[in-house]
């Protein structure tokens, strides 16, 4: 692995009450590499994302972006540094149109005026249109997010991320519940992005998608990282397979 490390979480832990949701986990995301987070339900995958993006504060450990610590920074600060994420439960801006959902996601400052004047605004509109085209939502640009069908909401969630142009994407189960046709469309979206150098970390239970997309798999169970490696290594590990697919272990 020669690509530079962009984002790293080292030895981070977080517990809720007595439950250690994430324990001493280290994760390194390299430029242009797709890392899949796999593991049973409740392994701590979503929590790990929340710890990286500042939605939760780790009890211990360090989080660095290009060598600079982003620990304890507010989520919006982390986002502005180029980390875009999706949510397992989507969290769209329900009452806004598809178009405004994407536009609101990429307008950089929360203040009264936007930098770049009208040319900046025009550039952003272009960006939005590109993202909508990539996800096949152009026709629905004026529809409110709450009125979308299931697959469409999933793609809107992706469109928001694509439009930000962020170099790092953290995707939490973006393809669950998609039908096979939509799934292939999703796979293509991620492929195009990585080809353009985007670094992706993906939580996904569907093995077909994981094997199709992932360069590396990090395997979590009960808050700990049990293994990390290429898909071949992980899927060849009988013990992990037993935890993830296999006959009951208890």
């Amino acid at each position: 692995m020669s690509e530079p490390i962009l984002l790293s979480a080292r030895g981070i832990s977080r517990s809720f009450g007595g439950l250690a949701a994430v324990q001493d986990v280290t994760l390194e995301l390299r430029q242009g590499v797709v890392t899949a987070l796999a593991g049973p339900n409740g392994a701590g995958k979503t929590t790990l994302f929340n710890l990286i993006t500042g939605h939760l504060v780790p009890d211990r450990g360090a989080v660095e972006l290009k060598g600079e610590s982003i620990l304890r920074q507010k989520p919006h600060k982390v986002a502005l540094k180029g980390i875009a994420r999706s949510f397992q439960d989507l969290r769209l801006f329900g009452s806004m149109s598809v178009y405004d959902n994407v536009l609101a996601a990429i307008e950089p400052t929360p203040w009264l005026w936007q930098p770049g004047g009208s040319s900046g605004a025009a550039a952003r509109r272009l960006e939005v249109e590109r993202a909508l085209a990539a996800t096949g939502l152009e026709e629905l640009a004026g529809t409110r997010a709450v009125d979308l069908s299931y697959a469409e909401t999933k793609f809107l969630s992706m469109a928001r991320i694509i439009a930000t142009g962020a170099p790092i994407w953290l995707l939490d189960e973006p393809a669950s519940g998609l039908d096979p046709a939509s799934r292939s469309r999703f796979v293509k979206l991620v492929r195009d992005a990585t080809a353009a150098g985007v670094t992706v970390c993906l939580i996904e239970h569907n093995l077909d998608i994981v094997t199709e997309l992932a360069d590396r798999i990090a395997f979590l169970d009960q808050g700990r990282k049990l293994a990390e490696g290429t898909p071949a290594e992980i899927l060849g590990n009988a013990e992990l397979i037993a935890i993830y697919f296999g006959e009951r272990r208890e």
């Binding site: 049973p40 339900n41 299931y150 519940g177 046709a181």
Partner: protein, 245 residues
């Protein structure tokens, strides 16, 4: 408890649907569905996103009104209504998180017992039965459902539906958010009691691989009508499957 008699296919289906139509705000979503769910079979319903699968299940449980058509439960025509359907041995597991986030798992089960009007003694026995099937539930028995991971919540949702020992189970995409093993962990016991008790299951799934393994029959929907019916084995060929979407 007594050993139930192994089911032999009876002529009257457990549930039958004829000419069902439904719409949202004037937009037609179901355009005349005919479907039989035989006694003791697992029927897997597949279809593209937005085909109308969830809507069909909602109508069958009385959560959405049908515009036209007929629903029959053991050849008895009726107008579905949730409490009516629950009393008649139908249970429904909705798409997504079918749990109350602020209630503990234990409380959710108590609620389910209440809706099935079971007394305390019988209730305890039923709970033990479900915990046997889904032993992981014990680990977070007193936790609030909202604090559980997605898969754990799904487990609770299915467990509570099984509590009433339904004769018909409507399952809407139980695999969403589930790790493969968990999905297996769920399907195996469901299949087991299904066969033991002769329960009929209408299963909506996108994860065809796992779903087909436990199904007796497959029906595919497209844009509000059924377009295919067959055995799971007939769809083993991936290319053939894709034509349905």
């Amino acid at each position: 408890m007594s050993v139930s008699i192994p089911s032999t296919a009876t002529p009257a289906p457990a549930m039958a649907v004829r000419g069902l139509r439904a719409s949202y705000a004037g937009r037609e979503v179901l355009a005349g569905i005919d479907l039989d769910l035989a006694d003791g079979e697992v029927l897997c319903l597949i279809g593209h996103n937005g085909a109308g699968k969830s809507t069909l299940l909602k109508i069958l449980f009385g959560l959405h009104p049908a515009d036209a058509g007929e629903v029959r439960l053991r050849s008895r025509a009726l107008k579905p209504h949730p409490s009516l359907m629950a009393r008649d041995g139908v249970a429904y597991v909705p798409e997504g998180r079918g749990v109350f986030p602020g209630l503990t798992v234990k409380e959710i089960f108590t609620l389910a017992l209440w809706s099935a009007s079971l007394d305390a003694g019988e209730g305890r026995a039923r709970i033990d039965e479900v915990l046997e099937l889904l032993p992981k539930l014990r680990d977070f028995w007193t936790k609030r459902a909202g604090q559980l991971s997605g898969g754990q919540q799904q487990m609770v949702s299915i467990g509570r539906a099984l509590l009433s020992r339904p004769s018909i189970l409507l399952l809407d995409e139980p695999s969403i958010g589930l790790a493969p093993k968990l999905f297996q962990d769920l399907l195996t016991p469901i299949r087991a009691i299904q066969q033991r008790r002769g329960m009929s299951i209408l299963l909506v799934e996108q994860n065809v691989g796992e779903a087909f393994a436990v199904s007796d029959r497959v029906v595919a929907m497209k844009s509000g009508v059924t377009i295919y019916e067959g055995k799971p084995a007939d769809l083993a060929d991936h290319a053939k499957l894709l034509t349905l979407f």
